[in-house]
Amino acid sequence: MLDMEMLSRIQFASTTIFHFFFVPITIGLAFFIAILETMYVVKGEERYKDMAKFWGKLFLINFAVGVVTGIIQEFQFGMNWSNYSRFVGDVFGAPLAVEALLAFFLESTFIGLWIFGWERLSKKVHLLCIWLVSFGTTMSAFWILVANSFMQRPVGYQMVNGRAEMNDFFALITNGQVLVEFPHTVFGALATGAFLVAGISAWKLIRKQDVPFFATSFKYATTIGLITSLLVALYGHAQAQYLVGTQPMKMAASEGLWNQSEDPAPWTVFAMIDPETKTNTMEVKIPYLLSFLSYSKFEGSLKGMNELQAEYEQLYGPGDYIPPVSTTFWSFRIMVLGGTAMILLAMYGVYLTARKKLEKGNTIFMKLMVAAISLPFISNTAGWIMTEIGRQPWTVFGLMTTKDSISPSVTGGEVLFSLISFTVIYTILGILQVKLFVKEIKKGPYPKLEAEAHTHDPFDKEDVTNGS
């Protein structure tokens, strides 16, 4: 008998992780393009328009994949997690509906106007379109994170006939969790877009292709990258401190802390965790640091998983309330490591730009910047794994467990079928997006006429002469 719950979890995890490769690019690039087009409208220099159009091409390839993988996200709550949907639909469905009404309509309508409207709309109205797309993508993040924050810290509800019913919408959207989670995630997305642009620009600069074009893009990207990755760290810190109060178990797991910590608490850099014996070996610790990270002062201890397990048994009845510790512990460290590397790289990039050393092509650093495209994706993914795995065994913290959330009428075989289908189609989409990205990047912002001339399709020539 196939385990429907496990398969559904794998499917949800993989489709969500995959979807969240594209979402941050969408949010990040929309903002970046909006900045460039603003420069174009303000300064009137054609090169900014060319930049907006070139990065816009990548944006559109990515947007298409982001949209279609998003439809699955909305559908699979009902398809695979019907008990969950019944239980929280009242509270959780509302932000989803608002997301569609407020964000999805805005994005999809104005992106259509933006693509097809270069010749039909005035400069300013066209600029407004991309800002509305950028606003829409950001609002979309806000509303879905309102929904997610309810799962982390349920607020604004009351229990009626065994269901969570909303009783305070304002509390829901001012949930302390979303106030830290939203900026952390959105700045992470802006940094993702910035690192993508910086990495691609570096790749072109190494090859000395369209140097002024990509030097300018690189300058904007590293500046935005630096500011946003610093803000990511700042709000990450705020979120961790919030976690100490609201989800101490996740905090303890992400620190590999089995028993009440010393006071002041040291921060564990590295540890081999054995969940069987509930002990760690080979621990490397930095004194005082965990107290500082948790409370912004050099004193104070944290509860360990064993104490919390005993507390939760009192509160929620018998059960295992400890999440997969190693996964939580390591995903947290991977996220932080990636984020730190991003800050350092962006700093050096800004420094190089300021010293006007970019054109000389500092190749080792530039190569690092190409490789660094992967960093935000690794950190984003690790961050979500930590957040969602660290909340286990709950789907809604303290209210509903994951095993109670499934669809009773769906079989393991059906989920296996969908899991395989989605994996296959997602793999194809992923490969195609990368291939099309590489193709557009190689073609560059100013494709030569002769390069296109030997293709067999006469209409594409026409595209070029028309300035597409």
Partner: protein, 337 residues
């Protein structure tokens, strides 16, 4: 009127909007296979829906979101019960969604042919599956006392629901052809009109067949006989007018009439359902209704305020986008896709 009824109407309106709007771009997707003869014509067709199709699809996502928020049990029972067809639907929508953008990025014939096939299948399957699901909704489904739908393949796919599926598909095709007459010029426009007129005969037969089957195989005429009969008469009039206006080359009116048939058709599903949202074939006491499937009053109130504040803006800028791109797509001009 209570909030539960308002939300039932709102969900219905969102689905009706979806079928009216995405209906024609599904139809245009089918026309890329049946109507277009050259690559250029296919590109004109794709460009004719280029600025719109994505926003049209958001009507479906919003309908799903509204269902989730206002009627969690409806959303949960329907989406888990129809698991398998929805997986197929999602695969089709995914392929279709990327194909418009991906198709023009490659230059080999094989690349274009592949994406043309994806556009075609991705435009053909969804209306068919929606037809099957909506027909199942009014026919009734094996829903138990716990609101769980334990449907076997033949509960979902049977003569009645398949006829429903084919009817919706052909209706979308005709609607798409009428849309093509509005957005293209010359030979393509004339052929689209001629093909639409030719399709009216089999479509009339299918609609009549589905209507008769609905009369005998479902209880909706017992529940809402007078209203549904009136709507059916209006539907017949609108249908005849499609042919009439198409013959006079009054394409705008003909398109409005094919739209009216869609609006009447989908509305009658919801009229027939009300006050139920899903009919149990096991015991009518197990049916989901606008009362027992709904969210709490507070949630509905908040959502009503949000929806009625935002919807006018959404409609406003969507209509504006159609106005911006009212000019016909001409192959002599620059085409984005």
């Amino acid at each position: 009127m209570a909030l539960n009824e308002i939300w039932f109407i709102l969900v219905a309106v969102l689905f009706i909007g979806f079928f009216f709007l995405e209906g024609f771009d599904f139809g245009v997707g089918m026309a890329t296979k049946f109507l277009a003869k050259t690559d250029m014509e296919r590109r004109v067709l794709i460009n004719s829906i280029g600025p719109f199709w994505d926003a049209n699809e958001v009507w479906l996502i919003t309908a799903g979101g509204a269902m989730f928020a206002a009627f969690p049990h409806w959303y949960a029972t329907l989406f888990s019960g129809y698991y398998f067809p929805l997986v197929i639907l999602l695969l089709a929508l995914i392929g279709r969604g990327v194909s418009f953008e991906f198709r023009h990025k490659g230059h080999t014939q094989k690349w274009k042919d592949s994406w043309d096939n994806v556009i075609f299948i991705g435009s053909l399957l969804p209306p068919f599956l929606f037809g099957v699901v909506f027909a199942g909704l009014i026919k009734g489904l094996p829903i138990d006392v716990n609101m769980e739908m334990q449907a076997g393949l033949f509960d979902m796919v049977n003569v009645y629901t398949v006829v429903g599926g084919i009817t919706v598909t052909l209706l979308c095709f005709v609607h798409g052809l009428m849309f093509t007459t509005l957005r293209t010029v010359g030979d393509l426009q004339n052929r689209a009109r001629a093909m639409a007129k030719k399709m009216l005969v089999p479509l009339a037969a299918l609609l009549a067949l589905f209507g008769i089957m609905t009369y005998f195989m479902t209880d909706v005429f017992e529940v809402r006989g007078i209203v549904l009969t009136a709507m059916a008469i209006l539907g017949v009039i609108a249908f005849v007018l499609i042919g009439f206006f198409a013959s006079k080359k009054r394409d705008g009116w003909a398109f409005s009439m094919s739209g009216a048939v869609i609006v009447l058709g989908i509305s009658s599903v919801f009229v027939g359902l009300f006050p139920r949202v899903m009919i149990s074939s096991i015991d009518s006491a197990f049916s989901l209704t606008v009362q027992n499937a709904a969210s709490g009053a507070y949630s509905l109130k908040i959502m009503t305020i949000v929806a009625f504040t935002l919807l006018p803006f959404v409609l406003g800028y969507q209509i504006w986008s159609y106005f911006v791109f009212h000019k016909r797509v001409n192959e002599k001009e620059h085409l984005e896709y």
